[in-house]
Amino acid sequence: MEWEAVIGLEIHAQLSTNSKIFSGASTAFGAEPNTQACAVDLALPGTLPVFNEEALRSAVKFGLAIDAEIGRKSVFDRKNYFYPDLPKGYQTSQLFYPIVGVGHVDITMDDGTTKRVGVTRAHLEEDAGKSLHDEFPGMTGIDLNRAGTPLLEIVSEPDIRSAKEAVAYVRKIHAIVTSLGICDGNMAEGSFRCDCNVSIRPKGQEEFGTRTETKNINSFRFIERAIEGEIERQIDLLEDGGRVVQETRLYDANKNETRSMRSKEEANDYRYFPCPDLLPIIIDDDYIDVIRNDLPELPDARKARFMDDYGLSDYDAMVLSGERNLAQYFETVAKASDDAKLAANWVMGELSKMLNQNDTEIVNSPVSADQLGGMLVRIKDDTISGKIAKQVFEVMWHEGGTADQIIEAKGLKQVTDTGAIEGIVDEVIAKADKQVEQYKAAEPEKRGKMLGFFMGQVMKATGGKANPGAVNGILKKKLDALCD
């Protein structure tokens, strides 16, 4: 049977406000446990929440960016459940009246096709603290620094049909929130994480199958793998005559599999009701217009600009415009090198490869955009070849330094002196009787391809430093002279 996956995603984006959503405590990451939790965050008796309006502005920005309805009236509700890292015994969230209503984003797949994915809603809520199980044998530690950090929970429609689409959607949302500057997008620190709802159904069937929810996945790669694995697991289950159980699952990145966390039978009845300590948030058109007029450039607009201004292809523009940090990096390199195409190739090629291999975010790249741009200038002025540039880049990544310093220190400057190259070419030709004979015997139009061998020998003899263009010209001239 042919199966179809139905996927809906809930993304939690931590909002980059200075203080928490309902208290004045700092939201900075990485402080000593419980040093950034005030009386309100600890839920001491008698304390009351006071809403941080910065979180509201962030949510409205997001709503405008996805062309969504903005809730003129939104209300905080209490989601009641007991857990040690949930100090009040309830999470303040928005169930009945979210700040952001129905909206959508368009995603582009690798093959260039585009698809619209609906966003059901996005609402404000507070994060819980963290339970630390490993540090205290036989006990559980509670760190409430994160408790009360503002989150925007973005809920998609079940419009997604594959793991690849899911990743494209998550990347798009990531691009939007980082471009808006409302979320730092740091997935490793948990600032941006994703719950995946997955079900399968026979292709053509209208009705949804039973879904599972895999919680808190914090990398694009894991999202893809977790969904792929979950689809496979469900197909195997159904094809073996089993049934899918509605449950919450956890993704184990080490084993690359999901496993059951709790079933619906054990699920809480959250007893939502409007929080009586907070007033409904009422906003008007003026409030929204002020925010709209102040919106930064969004990924779709940036993509169009990259195509217009830099002449990038649709695909390159999409990749480079997505993440704000990546886009800024690219633009800096493009300007420094005055060659957008070369900049695009390097950013999407060598740089991305190294970032991926080292699991590094672009903001933490050891090679700065100015360093890379400086190196591209040296490619363009023939100081180094593209091939040597890879060596320079490698050194830059591991040891630092400007391109000029590295070229100088390692003696990588390209040999463009034609006299020197001619000498080496003569030596190579002298040692390669067999290949010279073959060259002479070949049809003139096929000789071009045969230059490769001689080229390789020259490069080998010069340690790759000979200017390939110059070598090419001299080789051709000298070999063709032998043929006359």
Binding site: L42, P45, G46, L48, F82, R271
Partner: protein, 483 residues
């Protein structure tokens, strides 16, 4: 000295008749000698009080005294006090010392007041008799076999027994007015949002409101001057200007229209109470007020609606008492569930547990619409009743309670009978309106309370009406035997 009102004590301090230290010591000595009879205090803060009194005397000597400087008061043990135990009369918080003051406490400190101690109450303010206190019931100074009312029973008993000239209370369904009525004192529940709830341990957030419990309306005005005002730490406090509540006390009542809701004089109302209230109304007529009948047709729905809304909010508000971060934790929990169940099972008394269960049920999936949502709809109807009635009159009057103080243990086995004691007070909290109870007579040696209800933020009018009554009568001057 201890039989004086706040206003009289303020002049005494101003005239140098006595110092705040002398005054404070007088009350501390009385508490030591007498409070075993009433159990009105959970904590007496002797050292703290004398230090504050000394500071107040120094401020006065330096010419920095304001209206409240050096006046002693008691705080209901629901208001958090920095460095002093705040128990909410619960085993759950028997070990809890807050690292901050409630806004109300801050305001009294800033005004130069002296805190004598923290008064007894029903556990987490849930009760109408003070019998649910972990520290044992407070007793009614008029008859120590009887309850002082609740939940602010300790505050009412302390003021009635002259163990404090004034105290704070909180009122979620009548918890200021009902004990004020039962102990023969003056109590004011302000408009919801008038007094900050920050640091006031929440029972039902949308209903809770702090207010003064005093001997006279004039004293209540002095207290409210300190307590009222917007607080950026409480989103539900209102940005409405705070007048000088003592300024209009002497306005004549000629032309005042008093509405008497027929629903507040039901067939089964104690005839003695009905008579005392009618007599009080006649007193106002003699001052030039006119009386008309009004209707609050949804009165009968107030108790059922209240006993959905209040427990629902309480069930959520009290979730934080989980034995994890502070407060009571059971011995040797075997796992998390055991920790929760036993800490809460052992830390909360039966009335609190009952309300948590009722509230949890009312909010459960599948019942929310039938209970909580319906109760909120009723709440709007009740509010509209009052708005309609107050379009026809300036103030509404009626009995505060259907009966005078009852005996300890009389209603503990019948929660619904206990809940019915709040029949006349509860609707006001659902509507968010201000109301007062002042003594207006006695029956069989027990005080009877007259309830006066006004429009939103009309506390000044209520205090004016109550003060004029107290100028003309002396019910508020009656003292229990043995005081």
């Amino acid at each position: 000295m201890f039989d004086k009102t706040l206003a009289e004590l303020a002049s005494g301090l101003e005239n140098g008749d006595f110092s705040s230290v002398e005054l404070t010591q007088t009350y501390l000595d009385r508490i030591k000698a007498e409070d075993s009879k009433y159990n009105s205090y959970i904590t007496v803060t002797e050292e703290h009080a004398l230090a504050q009194a000394k500071a107040a005397d120094e401020a006065r000597a330096a010419g920095n005294a304001s209206a409240f400087t050096g006046l002693p008061i008691a705080q209901k043990d629901i208001f958090c006090t920095d460095g002093v135990k705040t128990s909410c009369a619960s085993k759950m918080l028997d070990n809890f010392v807050a690292p901050y003051n409630a806004t109300v406490v801050d305001k009294f400190n800033a005004a130069g007041a002296v805190m004598l101690g923290k008064t007894n109450m029903d556990e987490f303010a849930m009760g109408s008799s003070n019998e649910s206190s972990f520290y044992g019931p407070s007793r009614n100074p008029w008859d120590t076999d009887r309850v002082p009312g609740g939940s602010s029973g300790g505050s009412a008993a302390a003021v009635a027994a002259r163990l404090a000239p004034a105290a704070t209370g909180t009122d979620t369904g009548g918890s200021i007015r009902q004990p004020a009525a039962l102990c023969g004192i003056t109590g004011l529940k302000p408009t919801y949002g008038r007094v900050s709830r920050f640091g006031m341990i929440a029972f039902a957030s949308s209903l809770d409101q702090g207010g003064p419990m005093t001997r006279t309306a004039e004293d209540a005005a002095m207290m409210l001057n300190v307590m009222a005002g917007f607080d950026h730490r409480d989103s539900t406090s209102m940005q409405v200007e705070v007048p000088d509540y003592t300024a209009d006390l002497n306005q004549p009542l000629k032309g005042l229209t008093i509405g008497l809701p027929k629903e507040y004089f039901p067939q089964d109302l104690s005839p003695a109470i009905a008579m005392q209230v009618q007599n009080a109304v006649k007193e106002f007529e003699a001052m030039g007020a006119t009386v008309k009948e009004v209707s609050l047709p949804n009165t009968a729905l107030a108790i059922p609606a209240y006993y959905i809304v209040a427990p629902a909010e309480a069930s959520s508000n009290l979730s934080r008492f989980d034995g994890v971060r502070y407060g009571y934790r059971c011995e040797s929990p075997v796992d998390l569930e055991d920790l929760y169940k036993r800490s809460r099972g052992e830390g909360f008394g039966p009335e609190v547990q009952r309300r948590i269960m009722v509230g949890t049920y009312a909010l459960s999936e599948g019942f929310y619409d039938a209970y909580y949502k319906k109760a909120q709809q009723i709440r709007r109807l009740i509010k509209q009743d009052f708005v309609n009635a107050l379009n026809e009159c300036d103030v509404i009057m009626g009995p505060t309670t259907p009966h005078p103080a009852f005996k300890l243990g009389e209603k503990t086995s019948d929660p619904v009978a206990m809940y019915m004691e709040d029949i006349f007070t509860i609707a006001l909290n659902l509507a968010g309106l201000p109301g007062m109870s002042i003594p207006c007579g006695q029956t069989e040696g027990l005080p009877v309370g007259l309830q006066i209800i006004g429009d939103y933020f009309a506390e000044q009018k209520l205090l004016n009406v109550a003060h004029q009554f107290q100028l003309a009568t002396d019910w508020h001057k009656q003292t229990p035997d043995g005081i």
